[in-house]
């Protein structure tokens, strides 16, 4: 008997921090139907089939917290929602996307589960859950499943949709440093940091990588000319117009030389390592047939190397290798390539392999290399003859530690001359641990936007932290790309509170963005009237390079729909605990459930930040323990026990005393202003500001280090246009 298919009721992608975790996840609601009565241990052969199909599941620790944890749960008995979660994560891992987080929770409906998996790409996460269902069902029903083709399909999706390896390693390094990121396109353009503090990268290019420098680096002649002018060794070359001319040039340049057509194709007509007049003149005649003009260039002996320069420093170096075969007197060249080169387990067709397989049908260079040695694919080299198949193939042998300081100097100088902050410098040298001068080595090319893979996946030697080097180049050690982010949640005047905070930040000299229910504002100017609590509208503030502080209003519903639009915040304000009303669609029905949503606002507060909590709401007070940073309580009642207790431990509180708004650190009080002070009284009346709202605004401003005098002045002038203020100043002066 076959079980009926699991139903996926709905799926949504939570882009920001959410009730499950800080990172983006896909949340699926699945109905397992009758399977609710059939946990894994009750289905004959299920455990063995799944384990055989996905042996990698042994690495899933699950709740048990040790290797094999999940398998143990499978054996003990668990339900398909939970199993789908692990299968979906395993699928993503098999496709090369490293993720670990997942959760499966029962809902109030029988047999209905929320299955949540971490993903780095919405579409892949969604597809992974769908395929996971198919795999789980096939395994339960003991039908065949073609896992290999699914994995191949996922690999292709990861290749197409996820950040490429070079970009990803930079983003990961930035994340390790606490720098947030936003992906700006489906490609590799990524913003690191928020607002005015952001930097942009596009693979290994940065927003300081000069376009002119890229133009220069793609012009080989100009590059050589500029480098050589500053004493950087390059292969000197000369365009020649006759065979005799070629020989003259070779003597000027110094032997040995390369003779090549300047615009040849695939190395056709190129002759290397020429020493005699006869050879050089002959090579001229070959070359002139392959191109419009012929160049004689100094032949640089040695291996090709790739050195990565980041911000004036060489951070990684890789060496190419010459692939050779040795004749056995029996096998053909083609056979020898298979048995002596392609048999190397490090060689493969895909990007994952550090070295390429060599197929003569695809490697024109190799064919020409063999031709120069008088050989073709079907030839049989005599025994013990060493034949070069490929000079300087993949540059994937890490030699960073061997680079001579003089070589590092000249390579960094080359990048500086061209004007690139990140550059891949190709140089040919016999021994990278010696200065170039003494071995006749030279720089042959300068590349903008270099690939980083060879340093991340070397065939031999150490992996180099090139992503970290680039992140460190973009952000000095004290920076993390963050601007002050203030988040506000609650149901009591939270939009108004956001306006008050944004106004005070504005007066404090910040170019402040505000996203709240009544729209999007930049520097007090409204730029959208749509409800800006929605993720995609709110996120605009963080993309805006002109903003150096951002205030966000949010609601429980928004957190459940999309997650929060920022990864962490400096200030998290909770004015009151909402009711579960309207949250049924997310299966949230209880105060406990609401608390679990609202807590995100406090969870996200950075260690150096503060949670601003209303002391008179007991449920809000209970969130205090979740805060990584400071907690500031506020209350209209100066004698509220929560406040008192907080004060006793020397912490900050804000309240009314004798009708004065009062800031207190421990028992040290600062009276900020009297409520009856005319402009304040007017303000409270005109804007209908409730007292707790006023206190929350003051507490937030204080937490943001806005001077008490400025808070007072700011509140007096809230809601006034610059003209109003000017008039007031004029009156005062009169």
């Amino acid at each position: 008997m076959a079980f009926q298919d699991i139903q996926i009721l709905r799926m949504c992608y939570l882009r920001g921090p959410n009730i499950w975790t800080y990172r983006p996840v896909v949340e699926a609601w699945v109905d397992i139907g009758e399977l609710e009565n059939h946990p894994s241990n009750t289905i004959a052969g299920f455990y063995d089939r799944l384990h055989t199909l996905l042996p990698g599941l042994v690495e899933h620790r699950c709740g048990i917290g040790e290797r094999g944890g999940f398998l143990k749960r499978l054996q003990e008995g668990t339900w398909p929602g939970h199993i789908m979660e692990h299968v979906a994560i395993e699928l993503q891992n098999l496709a090369g996307m490293q993720v670990g987080f997942g959760k499966a929770r029962e809902t109030s409906g029988r047999g209905v589960y929320k299955v949540v998996i971490r993903t780095r790409q919405k579409e892949i996460g969604i597809a992974a859950l769908q395929k996971a269902r198919a795999i789980v069902m096939a395994t339960i029903n003991n039908t065949a499943y073609d896992l290999a083709s699914t994995v191949a399909q996922f690999k292709a999706m990861v290749d197409r949709m996820c950040l490429g390896p070079s970009t990803a390693c930079i983003v990961d390094a930035a994340t390790d440093r606490g720098i947030p990121f936003i992906r700006l396109t489906e490609g590799n353009l990524v913003q690191l940091g928020y607002g005015a503090k952001q930097r942009r990268i596009w693979t290994a290019e940065t927003d300081r990588t000069s376009a002119i420098s890229e133009t220069i680096s793609s012009d080989k002649d100009l590059t050589k000319q500029l480098l050589s002018q500053c004493g950087v060794p390059i292969p000197q070359g000369k365009i020649v117009h006759s065979a005799n001319d070629a020989w003259q040039a070779a003597q000027d340049i110094g032997l040995p030389v390369v003779v090549k057509p300047i615009d040849g194709n695939h190395g056709r007509g190129v002759a290397l390592d020429l020493n005699s007049q006869t050879d050089i003149e002959a090579a001229y005649h070959v070359a002139i047939n392959e191109g419009s003009e012929v160049m004689v260039e100094r032949y640089i002996r040695g291996d090709e190397h790739r050195l990565l320069v980041v911000g004036n420093r060489v951070v990684a170096a890789a060496k190419g290798e010459t692939a050779t075969i040795t004749g056995d007197g029996v096998s053909t060249v083609e056979q020898l390539i298979e048995t002596q080169i392609n048999s190397d387990p490090r060689r493969g067709e895909e990007e994952d392999f550090p070295l390429d397989t060599i197929r003569l049908s695809e490697h024109q260079h190799a064919v020409l290399e063999l031709q120069r040695q008088g050989l073709q694919a079907h030839c049989i080299p005599e025994k013990d003859r060493v034949v070069i198949v490929q000079r300087n193939g993949n540059m994937s042998h890490d030699v960073t530690d061997q680079v001579h300081p003089e070589v590092a100097h000249v390579v960094a100088l080359a990048a500086r001359i061209i004007g690139l902050d990140i550059a891949g410098i190709d140089l040919v040298a016999q021994d990278i641990s010696k200065p170039l001068q003494e071995q006749g080595g030279a720089i042959v090319e300068v590349n903008a936007g270099p690939g980083l893979l060879m340093h991340l996946k070397p065939a031999s030697g150490n992996v180099r932290p090139v992503g970290k080097a680039i992140a460190d180049h973009l952000f000095d050690p004290k920076q993390n790309g963050r601007i002050p982010v203030i988040g506000v949640i609650g149901t009591q005047q939270s939009s108004l509170l956001c306006h008050l905070i944004a106004w005070l930040m504005h007066l404090n000299g910040h170019r402040t963005g505000l996203a709240c229910q009544d729209g999007l504002y930049m520097n007090q100017r409204q730029t959208s009237t749509q409800d800006a609590r929605r993720f995609d509208i709110a996120e605009r503030l963080l993309i805006n390079r002109a903003i150096d502080a951002a205030v966000f209003e949010t609601s429980a519903l928004d957190i459940l729909d999309d997650g929060l639009p920022y990864d962490r915040c400096h200030i998290g304000v909770v004015t009151d605990m909402p009711t579960p009303q309207g949250l049924d669609i997310h299966d949230v029905h209880t105060p406990e459930g609401v608390r679990n949503v609202v807590r995100s606002q406090v969870d996200l507060v950075l260690p150096q930040g503060a949670a601003i909590l209303h002391a008179q709401d007991l449920q809000v007070v209970e969130l205090a323990d979740l805060c990584d940073g400071e907690v500031i309580f506020y209350s209209v009642d100066a004698n509220h026990p929560v406040l008192k207790k907080h004060q006793l431990s020397g912490k900050r509180t804000v309240y009314f005393r004798d009708n004065h708004v009062t800031l207190a650190r421990g028992d040290q009080e600062t009276l900020l202003f009297h409520l009856n002070m005319e402009p304040i009284a007017q303000l409270l009346q005109k804007e209908n500001i409730q007292l707790p709202t006023l206190l929350a605004a003051v507490a937030s401003a204080w937490a943001l280090d806005i001077a008490p005098l400025l808070i007072r002045a700011g509140l007096k002038n809230f809601g006034k246009t610059p003209d109003d203020v000017a008039q007031q100043v004029a009156r005062m002066n009169a």
Binding site: L184, W202, E205, A211, I212, T215, I216, G231, N544
Partner: protein, 861 residues
């Protein structure tokens, strides 16, 4: 007539501050030496614009050289080049003239000179010369190579600010400034424009997303699936809308200003015929504007109109276009302020849409549009509206540029009126462009031109920054290399990263990046191009100045150590000390206005250069009472001299005293010429504002050994005797060496000397004459390299000079430098002194070092 050599003088030179060609013209026949009126009239007939031919002195005859001079100059002028200078000078050789003609573009000048030679030959032989095609070729070449208008406007602004520039390519890539201050542009793109920003600008959708994030009005839109979706999108976006294929070009399938469901769906189905992916976007009514943002400023704005003609009721549209294109401001490419209207298939199709053909006659006053886009390059026009831009619109444009990250940005705005905020009139920004064309702002079709080049320069260089690093040029007959090395050392001591050229090589900080004689402009240029250099100290020898002119347009400091009796006289038509002085004076003439000439007060020829220095002058001399020093000092100007065993630097009441004992290179004051070199270096460092602490510290740590200054008074000890190696090779140098050596106590003095064959006979004789007064033993040697002399010729001259010597008792002759050294060394005893005048500096010093470190070794002579 024979033109033997043509040189491009690429910097200030003997003749002019401008770039110029110099040709050696040999006139052989009497007709060539004195132009006939028949020749002149034939020449003028072939090239009426040839201009006057003058000799400059009003006495001598005009020659063929003068004809070539004038023709070369005037061919360039007629072709539109801005050149004025030319000159012809007779050399000492009968019939041989130097012809110098300014050029603005090297290749054009070169071609002009070749054409001028052909022209004059044709005139001489009553031949034919096609002047029209010659001028056409020149013009074409000039237009191809000279900078385009956008780049030229920036370069001109740089020139006005005194910023040096250098073209890096034949295209529009230009480098401004020197050393670490260098910056680059390529047309209207500057080196700080990031490649990422340019990629973003090319992605219209991403650009709109970023602009929208910043609240800048953009025509939002989205790709749509089907006709129904298109209508849904239109409602979301707000009517009216545009329906168009994504990335569609030439307006195919584009429908604008759609207001109804019917229209939108119809337009969608129509667009499907051209492309599969269709967009619906908000429609922006109004005109096209281009706003130019540079840095954080709006610097210019134009309203752009597509190419159009206005009907007159008579002419056909084709004729009207021809009439418009006859405007001389309209050219074929980007080089002129407007471009001709292209009357191609696109234009014909556009006419068809309006119900015309090329041969239609439009009613009087009708505007007939020939293209949808308003690009200048397809014949559109631009009207300057810079002063009309509403501040909010300007703020939007600046914000757009900053969101994308472009520091020079052409922002395309569509709106009804630029006078009002975009939000009020549903206007918006439709595109941002990297490397925008500047033509429409420099010389708009209507309205005021704007100096946008200046704005670009302003964005790259703060006010008052001329992008120069201090350049100290050093020349003279003797002491150049030591002065260069010591000056560089003083600058380095103050923390500057110094680039230095001299006769041993090119150095950047402690690294030698080139070796050999690097005292020419090529090496100097490589220092000025080096991105690490804070200051340049350049030995500037005569050879390079003659060959190519200076590597810089002007310098901060020009040091002339001395001229004395000169050196290398008779080479390159420099035959007298006066000629030499005029040549070496070039660096003094090209001191910047706030710069400094550092001149040797004890050398009257050098003193005379002071009058040619545009900046201030510092004089130095050993003698504190020298009248030049005394006068200069009394005038409150800078002087450096020696008093009571101290070097004194003085200006008005300010004075600094440095004991000679604290300047090791002078050997406690024993070596006069080293004191002079030190004074020159002190004055140069003082001129560029190096602190006295750094100067004193630098003087104290500068050692003139074979390592630091090879071949310049390197002192060794050998078996208790003193051995001095020096590269002295002219009478003045040897005189100074003798004077220095006489200040050093010694039993017996010997000297090893050869003579360089390329000196005049009298100079070689003079050398040994001086030697004969001061040394007991002389070893003469001859090397393989005799620089054009017969075997034994130089030795004979040296022997000649020693005839009747007062002191010399013993003369020996030997072949080979090493053998000569060994012979002298083998005879040294304790307390003796031996001066070795080395020739092959590196090898000879190596040999001496070897001997000195193994004194026990037996020498086989």
């Amino acid at each position: 007539m024979e033109v033997t050599r043509i040189r491009a003088l690429r910097g200030p030179n003997l003749w002019t501050r401008h770039t110029a060609f110099e040709a050696m013209v040999r006139c052989q026949t009497p007709e060539q030496l004195k132009l006939t009126s028949a020749f002149e009239s034939r020449l003028r007939h072939l090239f009426p614009g040839v201009g006057p031919m003058r000799t400059g002195d009003g006495k001598s005859h005009t020659t063929m050289a003068h004809a070539i001079e004038s023709s070369t100059l005037h061919l360039q002028i007629e072709a539109g080049c801005t050149v004025t200078f030319s000159r012809t000078t007779a050399t000492q050789e009968q019939g041989l003239f130097q012809v110098v003609v300014e050029y603005s573009v090297e290749q054009v000048g070169k071609l002009a000179m070749q054409l001028a030679i052909q022209l004059c030959e044709a005139a001489a032989n009553s031949g034919h010369f096609d002047i029209d095609s010659a001028l056409q070729n020149l013009r074409q070449l000039d237009e191809e190579i000279r900078l385009g208008p956008s780049t030229a406007s920036i370069v001109d602004a740089a020139i006005n600010r005194g910023i040096p520039f250098r073209r890096l390519t034949e295209g529009s890539m230009v480098q401004f400034g020197w050393g670490r201050k260098q910056r680059r542009i390529q047309a209207a793109e500057i080196d700080s424009s990031s490649a990422i920003a340019e990629s973003i600008a090319q992605d219209k959708e991403l650009t709109k997303k970023l602009l929208n994030a910043a609240g800048v009005p953009v025509p939002m839109g989205r790709p749509v699936e089907d006709a129904e979706d298109a209508w849904r999108a239109a409602q979301d976006i707000g009517l009216p809308v545009v329906v168009k294929p994504r990335d569609g070009n030439q307006g195919k399938g584009v429908a604008v200003n759609l207001k109804t469901k019917e229209d939108v769906i119809g337009a969608f189905n129509n667009a499907l015929q051209f492309r599969n992916d269709i967009m619906v976007e908000r429609y922006l009514p109004g005109s096209d504007y281009r706003l130019l943002v540079v840095g954080d400023k709006l610097v210019a704005a134009s309203r752009r109109e597509p190419p159009l003609v206005v009907g007159d009721g008579k002419l056909t549209i084709r004729q009207l276009v021809d009439k418009v294109n006859a405007d001389p401001r309209r050219g074929d490419g980007h080089a002129t302020s407007l471009t001709k209207i292209r009357f191609d298939e696109v234009a014909i199709n556009r006419l068809k849409e309006q119900g015309y053909t090329a041969e239609s006659v439009a009613a009087k006053g009708t505007r007939v549009i020939l293209r949808n886009n308003a690009n200048l390059s397809t014949g559109g026009t631009a009207t300057d509206v810079t002063d009309d831009v509403h501040p909010d619109v300007a703020a939007n444009a600046i914000m757009a540029a900053q969101m994308v990250g472009l520091d020079i940005c052409g922002v395309d705005v569509v709106c009804e009126s630029i006078l009002r905020p975009l939000e009020e009139q549903s206007g918006g920004i439709v595109e941002v462009n990297a490397a925008p064309g500047l033509r429409m702002h420099l010389s708009p079709s209507f309205g005021k031109g704007r100096n946008v080049g200046e704005a670009v320069i302003q964005a790259m260089f703060p006010d008052g920054d001329d992008a120069r690093v201090p350049v100290i040029a050093v020349t003279g007959t003797n002491g150049k290399t030591t002065t260069v090395r010591l000056t560089a050392h003083l600058l380095r001591t103050s923390g500057m990263r110094v680039g230095m050229t001299n006769t041993d090589g090119v150095y950047i900080q402690e690294r030698q990046i080139d070796s050999g004689d690097c005292s020419g402009p090529l090496s100097a240029r490589s220092v000025l191009m080096h991105p690490d250099v804070d200051a340049a100290v350049l030995e500037t020898a005569r050879g390079g100045m003659l060959r190519e002119g200076l590597a810089f347009d002007r310098c901060s400091v020009a040091v002339v150590t001395n001229i004395g009796k000169g050196d290398h006289l008779g080479l390159n038509y420099i035959s007298t000390v006066e000629d030499l002085a005029v040549l070496k004076r070039v660096i003094v003439q090209n001191v910047s206005k706030n710069g400094m000439g550092v001149l040797n007060a004890a050398d009257p020829i050098v003193v005379a250069m002071a009058a040619h220095c545009p900046g201030q002058v510092t004089f130095f001399a050993l003698d504190s009472h020298h009248p030049v020093i005394a006068t200069h000092r009394a005038q409150g100007k800078r002087v450096v001299f020696v008093e009571e065993d101290q070097v004194v630097a003085m200006q008005g009441k300010m004075q600094v005293r440095i004991p000679l004992s604290a300047i090791p290179v002078t050997l406690g004051g024993a070596i006069g010429f080293q004191i002079e070199n030190a004074m020159a270096a002190i004055a140069a460092a003082w001129a560029v504002g190096i602190s006295w602490d750094s100067i004193c510290a630098g003087l104290a740590t500068f050692i003139s050994d074979a390592q630091a200054v090879p071949g310049r008074f390197n002192v060794f000890e050998y078996k208790g005797a003193t051995v001095i190696a020096d590269y002295g090779h002219n009478p003045d140098a040897i005189k100074a060496l003798v004077q220095a050596v006489e200040n050093m106590p010694a039993q017996r003095r010997s000297v090893v000397i050869s003579g360089a064959g390329d000196r005049r006979d009298e100079d070689i004789r003079e050398q040994s004459r001086i030697i004969g007064e001061a040394f007991d033993d002389v070893v003469l040697y001859q090397d393989d390299c005799q620089r054009g002399r017969e075997d034994g010729e130089v030795l004979a001259l040296l022997r000649d000079g020693l005839k009747g010597a007062k002191r010399t008792k013993k003369i020996e002759e030997i072949r080979g430098e090493f053998s000569a050294i060994d012979m002298a060394l083998s005879k040294l005893g304790k307390g003796d002194l031996c001066l070795i005048l080395i020739d092959q500096v590196e090898q000879a010093l190596g040999h001496i070092n070897k001997r000195v470190s193994n004194p026990g070794e037996e020498l086989v002579v």
